[in-house]
Symmetry: C2
Subunit: 173 residues, 2 copies
């Protein structure tokens, strides 16, 4: 049962979502938001991300790690802060020998909602529906679950493509 | 004997410099450049930074960690990459419970050369002179040693200021 950890990194809040994916059937395991205290130093905030992501990995033992890629940041200053948070989360994954996959925000929305231009509410709604949740997860947690779902879909698509090729080869022989 | 690890982070090359500082007297211990392979994925490159900085910490056992702060990046894209590298290096420090100090590039140049507008060659020359090296270190290694020297100077200044205050208090009693 492959377990996927999805991360939506941010300099103030980092969302996480854990799902399992078996033969195209996805199931919710956990989600939440890692909050950084603004009163803390940069080093303390990055330690919070690294430690929290490490704790989530130790708790849920995912085999795969998916993280949202940032296509464009508002400014160089905010890009630097976001990069630091993203770096801390990725280092936690590679420190635990997890393979890391990156997905553009547009690709995540396309995969979950069906359009790359979907808004936050649509993402929350579809995440709730796809994972049969009784209520919508918080915004950052929903984004992280969406990245995990996007990864599950992509992997499933690769498996289907590989099987189809195998089948065609079978007929050719 | 406080040992200081200085880091000049970059998305392609990360410089490191290790010095000791005793009563204002600084001594060279080690320096070098961590190179990232462009053919590697982002996750592999960040793992290289985290693992290499961790190895340097385990080898030289510094008590303090100083890193150059980036005032302005050229673009949001390069700021994100630099932020990720910076985050990976800082996480290695906090993972080993080292206190992290940040210094603006101008402050580092001011501290080592005497002017915040110093160029790379002047920094290399002064690092070589201050640490009595027989040859100039590589550019990124020199920048990292300069951050470590800046930290040593700042700490020494704080000690002097604290001593002076203590002395004044002594005279007032």
């Amino acid at each position: 049962m492959p377990i996927i950890l999805g991360i939506d990194p941010g300099s103030r809040k980092t969302g996480f979502g854990v799902i399992s994916s078996v033969s195209g059937k996805v199931e919710y395991i956990a989600s939440g938001v890692i909050r950084m205290d603004n009163a803390h130093s940069l080093a303390e905030r990055l330690k919070t991300i690294f430690s929290s992501v490490s704790d989530i990995i130790n708790l849920h033992m995912p085999q795969e790690f998916a993280i949202e890629n940032v296509f464009m940041a508002k400014s160089a200053g905010s890009a630097l802060k976001l990069g630091q948070a993203r770096g801390a989360a990725i280092v936690a994954a590679v420190h635990h020998d997890l393979p890391v996959s990156e997905y553009e925000a547009r690709k995540v929305k396309q995969s979950v909602v069906g359009t790359g231009a979907a808004d936050k509410l649509q993402v929350q709604h579809m995440v709730k529906s796809l994972l049969s949740l009784s209520m919508s997860p918080q915004e950052d947690a929903a984004d992280a679950l969406a990245v995990a779902l996007c990864h599950a879909n992509t992997q499933q698509h690769l498996i289907r493509t590989a099987s189809a090729r195998h089948f065609r080869r079978g007929r050719l022989v």
